[in-house]
């Protein structure tokens, strides 16, 4: 199993990945509270970016409404915990199930009725917006006034109920990101992964070769939704408050896709590199501005916008593919960067 996973990955790549993993593992030892929260955010965006990438990068379906799955996952696990005291490890079953169902409904409607391209992207936004307004009026989770979890006691780490210190959440997110990376690597090399890439490059040609385009597009949406909802569960228990206006908002969906786009759509390393660059730079900039005594809301987003603009204009395949070539790591990067 492990041997199969490692097959074809260049040794330099493995060494680099191992070094990165060690660095991430050791990070909390020398990082303060604030830096640790930045580290958590980076891993969070790397994870959701990886999940989004399955749909867009692997199967070529542009979703601009992934906040839907984050929100559904967050609300399901949080509501079960608050109302019935059910551990998030069990509650995440509901999160994943609901998100998969939502993804399946969206995918079925879109793919069955031939909603593609821009129309598909708009449909994903419409679903997320629909959920946002719906949850605003969903009194079981307090509607628009926000749903709160009992605030965690940082002194003890209760992994079973996800109540604990930022450090625990950091390691949890790290484990999830590593798992997502490995899973995506395996998916990309699986039969389904090759079907996805065929569909991405040319749905007609894939269909002509006998690939069940509908089924594999559905699989991409459902798997991506399930993974994204897991991030939502962690989000809920990390921040302890949920507002439909925030969690389902379109700006959340946009924020989540910036990492993989800037890092490199369809590559495995892209989402991580993108999240690292973007979150790292944005938080660094915020820190500098705080030192200078200016605090203007919106500056971070303008910075995100400019980064995105520059990358789509000058590096249409993202930062990672040219970087990987420069470092001699291109094989095994997978996807578009790979060839």
């Amino acid at each position: 199993m492990i041997a199969r996973l490692l097959e074809g990955v260049p040794r330099r790549g493995l060494v680099a990945l191992g070094a990165l993993l060690l660095l991430l593992l050791a990070f909390p030892a020398f990082a303060s509270g604030y830096l640790l929260s930045v580290g958590f955010l980076i891993l969070y965006f790397a994870f959701v970016g990886q999940a989004w990438n399955i749909m867009m990068g692997f199967a070529g379906q542009l979703s601009l409404g992934h906040s839907l799955y984050v929100g559904l996952g967050a609300y399901a696990a949080a509501a079960l915990y608050v109302h019935f005291g059910i551990s998030p490890w069990i509650g995440l079953g509901a999160s994943v199930g609901i998100a998969m169902l939502a993804g399946a409904v969206l995918g079925f409607l879109a793919f069955r009725f031939g909603v593609a391209g821009v129309y598909f992207a708009i449909l994903t936004i419409a679903f997320a917006e629909f959920a946002r307004i719906g949850f605003d009026h969903f009194s079981w989770v307090q509607g628009s006034s926000g749903f709160f979890l009992p605030v965690a006691n940082y002194a003890t780490n209760d992994l079973w109920n996800l109540r604990g210190s930022p450090r625990m959440f950091y390691y949890l997110m790290l484990a999830m990101s590593v798992a997502a990376f490995v899973a995506c690597h395996a998916l990309l090399r699986s039969r389904m992964g090759y079907y996805w890439q065929a569909i991405r490059e040319s749905p007609e040609a894939a269909q002509a070769l006998g690939v069940n385009v509908f089924r594999y597009k559905m699989a991409a949406v459902v798997i991506s939704a399930a993974m994204t909802s897991l991030a939502g569960v962690v989000f809920a228990f990390y921040y302890n408050n949920l507002f439909p206006e925030q969690i389902f908002h379109i700006s959340r969906s946009i924020e989540l896709i910036l990492g993989p786009i800037i890092g490199g759509i369809g590559t495995l390393v892209g989402p991580l590199v993108g999240a690292l660059l973007l979150t790292g730079l944005a938080e660094g900039m915020r820190e500098v501005m705080l030192q200078l005594g200016v605090e203007v809301p919106g500056v971070k987003q303008v910075f995100y916008g400019i980064c995105l603009l520059l990358v789509v204009m000058f590096l249409p395949h993202g930062v990672w593919p040219p970087l990987a070539r420069r470092l001699g790591l291109e094989r095994g990067a997978g996807g578009r960067g790979g060839h």
Binding site: M56, L62, L64, L109, A110, F113, G114, V115, G117, V118, Y119, A121, I122, L123, I125, A126, E129, F130, I133, G134, D136, H137, S144, I250, S251, I254, I261, V296, P297, G298, V299, Q301, V302, Y304, G305, I306, L308, L309, V312, M313, P316
Partner: protein, 290 residues
């Protein structure tokens, strides 16, 4: 509830819908010709509204007069955007164009947030509280004026595309890109002009909407979605479709707001969008592409 209330609400929805329709007309014109989906449309709309606000506070002129300078400024902005940023993307994949405009939208909305602040701002005209009585109907005067102005601008736009040489040239680009180039049209310049014209529609619609509604930077993405819902409902690329879609969405939202709660009104617009996408993806007045 008595029937008059529904009639009143529907009439007011129709009038607001005309203004929405003009905004969506801009999106439709741009898509119909340039084949680029302007994801920054709503953000441009709030920009036009803020411009109207600033000019109103400085000059104390009626917003429906300010419509002209605002549309002119938005035309220039649209022209420059297409000429400088979007033209190089004409032959790029769809998602790449989409992300370019997502980036522009992200920058626009947050620059507005930095410049104008997050609070809702509105203006008061001397006819803000006037109304017309028409049988059982009581209609806000400001909505009537805004809707009238929207009709005038839309009519002017139809005439432009129908009767002027430039309008014909732009339609030629939309019908056949290669053919237009073969007969010697400067397609990139015409694209820039088209984006300018679409943006001018947004500018005009923004000035009108300022008469009937407040503005915050945060509402930009909602207007983008609204414009999409309208043009997809009416038929992306169809000009009458955009106006019809505007009317439909205006009435749907208004009635939805009364029947349920006002804050849930957009759900009905989205429900309509989903229905149209599923059963008539080319829109009510759109033509199916082959």
């Amino acid at each position: 509830m008595p029937v008059e209330i529904y009639l009143n609400v529907a009439a007011s929805g129709l009038l607001t819908g005309l203004v929405y329709g003009l905004m969506a007309l801009g999106l439709s014109v741009i898509f119909g010709v340039v084949r680029v989906v302007n994801f920054a449309h709503g953000e441009m709309m709030t920009l036009a509204m803020f411009l109207t606000l600033v000019l109103f506070n400085a000059l104390k002129l009626d917003p429906l007069v300010l419509l002209v300078p605002v549309a002119a400024v938005m035309f220039a902005l649209g022209y420059l955007m297409q000429a400088g940023l979007i033209n190089p993307f004409i032959n790029r994949p769809e998602h790449s164009q989409f992300m370019l405009l997502v980036a522009i939208a992200l920058i626009l909305v947050n620059v507005q947030l930095i410049v104008f602040g997050p609070d809702a701002q509105g203006i008061r005209t001397r006819y803000s509280f006037d109304s017309f009585k028409l049988g059982p109907l009581v209609i806000d005067a400001s909505k009537v004026y805004a809707a009238g102005a929207a009709l005038v601008v839309a009519a002017a736009l139809f005439a432009f595309f129908r009767f002027t040489l430039l309008g014909k040239a732009i339609r030629a680009c939309a019908d056949n890109y290669d053919g237009a180039r073969v007969v010697g049209l400067n397609v990139k310049r015409l694209y820039a002009l088209t984006f300018g014209i679409g943006s001018a529609c947004v500018g005009a619609a923004g000035a009108m909407l300022m008469v009937v509604s407040d503005v915050t930077p945060a509402i930009g993405p909602a207007y983008t979605l609204l414009a999409f819902v309208i043009v997809i409902t009416g038929g992306l690329g169809s000009m009458p479709g955009a106006l019809l879609g505007g009317l439909l969405i205006g009435v749907t939202e208004a009635l939805g707001g009364v029947l349920f709660t006002p804050s849930a009104k957009s759900m009905f617009a989205f429900a309509l969008l989903v229905l149209v996408l599923l059963f008539r993806p080319q829109g009510i007045l759109g033509r199916r592409e082959t």
